[in-house]
Symmetry: D2
Subunit: 287 residues, 4 copies
């Protein structure tokens, strides 16, 4: 990439109609951009919804972004009725992590962040328990202990909003065993990604490995999804499974499952940070 060039992604969602690709690609060509990757999906060419992610490189100083986007709105976005947004690769996302006592998802995220696997910077970790402070300290990151009072969760949520509100672009629940209120999610205003320890919609809620043992399933899974007010019902980003047998106790299922949980969560977080995930009702399009 030459100096002065900007790497960016354009995400589009709209009613499907002919001419969208031509209009967008023509605009980008005229702006001097080179399209590096492009993905598109239509739920139905006639009357469906159209989704697109275009990754491109163009000569654009940081101060020229506003003009570039205004021109796009005027020439393409408004005439075609697009729901669109440009993400600049240089604007790394700020990630907050919430965790309870279990370390596997948290450590995996922190390792990957340190290795540079995510297009994001972890800015803070908060927990309702003090247990994982030393692990987080080793990464030179702030660790906020925010105890949750079962009788009244509002003060804890208020404290989390103070810590995270406006400071993060995404929050990751790395086995955070508290249900977040709709009020909190609204106020936070950024996507929240959760990892659930089952192949949803099977075994939603607590005790997923015990339920799996009791039902005698032959595979266990993990699901990363965006958090909505309804428990474990948000749009699924990624899932995976691992084979188990009658020999495995619930404790052994939890150990095997933890390997799946961390890889599924890492994939979901990585894709989210690369702007690959578009929400469509209660499902996702992952480019």
């Amino acid at each position: 990439m030459s100096p002065g060039s900007t790497s960016a992604r354009l995400l589009i969602s709209c009613a499907d109609r002919p001419g969208i690709v031509a209009a967008v690609a023509g605009f980008l060509r005229d702006a001097g951009a080179n399209i590096v990757h492009s993905d598109q999906h239509s739920t139905d060419p006639e009357g469906g919804r159209f989704f697109m992610r275009m990754e491109f490189v163009l000569p654009l100083a940081e101060g020229e972004r506003g003009a570039f986007e205004r021109a796009f709105a005027r020439d393409v976005g408004d005439p075609l009725g697009l729901d669109w947004r440009v993400w600049y690769v240089a604007d790394r996302k700020r990630m907050g992590i919430l965790v309870s006592r279990t370390d596997h998802c948290l450590l995996d995220l922190l390792w990957r962040w340190r290795r540079g696997e995510f297009e994001a910077d972890v800015v803070a970790v908060a927990s309702n328990h003090p247990d994982l402070r030393a692990d987080v300290d080793a990464f030179a990151l702030p660790y906020h202990h925010v105890p949750v009072d079962r009788a009244d969760k509002a003060p804890a949520e208020a404290r989390l909003l103070e810590l995270l509100g406006g400071n993060v672009d995404v929050v990751v629940l790395a086995r955070y065993m508290q249900i977040l209120s709709g009020h909190f999610l609204d106020r936070l205003g950024v996507p929240v990604i959760n990892i659930h320890h089952s192949f949803l919609p099977a075994f939603a809620g607590a005790g997923a490995y015990e339920k799996a043992k009791d039902r005698g399933v032959k595979l266990i899974g993990a699901t990363a999804h965006y958090v909505t007010e309804e428990l474990d019902a948000g749009p699924i980003i990624e899932q995976d499974v691992i084979r188990v047998s009658h020999r495995d106790t619930p404790a052994r299922l939890a150990r095997l499952g933890s390997d799946i949980e961390r890889t599924v969560l890492a994939r979901a977080v990585g894709w989210h940070c690369e702007d690959r995930v578009l929400v469509h009702d209660r499902t996702t399009v992952v480019f």
Copy 2:
């Protein structure tokens, strides 16, 4: 295997206690048997349930089976309080197949049977539709068309009992889209294996692929289970999954899923016929 030698399997289920393996293996050694394979499982060494499958070869004429089993009962089974059964490999299981209109599971079973993959002989195919007659004819097997009257299913079940009762050791539902009554299952008196087109307990009942699309799962699955009176709730024998994406329509999910359905069903049927599956409450032990 020398002439006059018999290949057999001993299946045991009992309260766990010390000395079971020694007693069984000692008895078999004294009977001149060579243990070829042995698997065991204890749900808990203290107070749990013990399961065992021993495959052995011994010099035993067909007429001596009764005496052999009586001796085992007297010396081992009764003293130790075992729930046990001997299966002789030479007694190939007789398999009945029920199917509706979809051919993939049926054809896969018939083809594997023809190749000799199952320790079983298919003896009859019955269907509530006439569609698959020619396919079954090509395997030189009887095809019974038993229409089902939605208003009164009893006559159809009675006809199926006439056809299958006493003539089969196992019945396989190869995408048979009728719910069998508890009365029918009781009267039939042999295990019935069903293939369900989802990763149970997710998406039980009809329309599993539509439900999967609607929920936006990233993997679809299939589940082979023993049929009980409660729909899609019997002990699971085998499951598997395949990755899907936002691009896949319900019709495409059904096509991808059909490949999983047939392999999962074939594995379950194969294991059942080799006496590898022991039921434990509403789960299975698969050796």
Copy 3:
């Protein structure tokens, strides 16, 4: 799709440079086309190779195809130096199948063809053995027995050229245990897809399952690839694996492997017929 509308795919391969997508999408929009799917890949945005597959629907009578393609060449293909080709969905590919004695890949292809899974019509099956004639007869397809003389394979290849030359768009080797000469491949002039019973490049050549057993691998695989003159070295289209254990004999590996062989081959054939596979040196881009 309205009457008079044509579904087609444009495949492009060229040196990467800015403006390709805009030029192609602009041309198609002006021709009245609606882009239904689009995939692209660049090996390197600077100095790399660019690949694209665009699926579109446009109002075009069959007699207007020549003019449409000449206009594309004049306005886009020639100016940008593209290597391109348009495939019309209505022009179903004609498929020839070569097989030896093993039935699993052949039957799986024929079942899928009968179910309508492939955008292709099987037109002939040829074999160096007579064994599978009845199976092919059941699908009302011609079965050509073309014995191969080990001392001189030329007459058999000449006979195959007579049968297939000019009559097929793709040939599938469904476990055909004869090596085809470079001369034959040249004269045939259409892509040939082979299924090899290992995870290439491991265990090329004959006896792959014996080699796998001897080496003690924990997974066995299958590989579908385009055939080139060099044995088992052509561009790989698809691969998959299945877990095995020390218990599995080479015969059991062959049985387990046969399930992988047929699904891997079916995926490769399906993708080829949908024009999803572009060759790049000795690798493939699969859209």
Copy 4:
């Protein structure tokens, strides 16, 4: 487990013959043992090799082990010509780790060790580079920097022998990029487990991900194996793969592969420490 009871495993390898299970199980019953798990494998009931792993609990003080083993040798081992060994669960294995600059396998092993996933204690980490000292310090483990002189590797191997010889029961190469000499392996005298970044036997040696990219494989893998003098040719303990595509650069393959490397290595190390792996020529039996 009651106080005074001992958990142990008996591993047996011998020419197959009738009566082995009965003799072993009878001896253990008479010794007051309860068999908790038992696995056996015969390469061929007639003339093959027999392998067994029996896990049992028996009342045995530490000082009585010698007498117990002498009695077993006298009554069972010697008469039947068994190659056998008893491992006591209380005798946790001492593990040494060698690593170069890459952290993912090392960190994963240390983290699992801290969680208690291995029946082993990590006692030392040695590296030919200083880079990972801080990471190892965080686990309160000694980190030995043992530089390797390319022109003469003998001094480094001598230093490693000083550090590890007699102090470890197993050595794990967690991406240690130096070839160990046969002389070193002999002198070390304990099993050495390596993780190789490909699906062996494909892509042995250096540059596996570049080779995989060049060959265009659709899956990449990792292989954990015991180290022998011949590079990447020792008995394979475990393998796994992950799907990749034409989009993935060698750097991306390395990142995706690192997730497989660490899980494959962790499984192999865990199984080894639980005495589940028996070597058979250049393959393994994994119970």
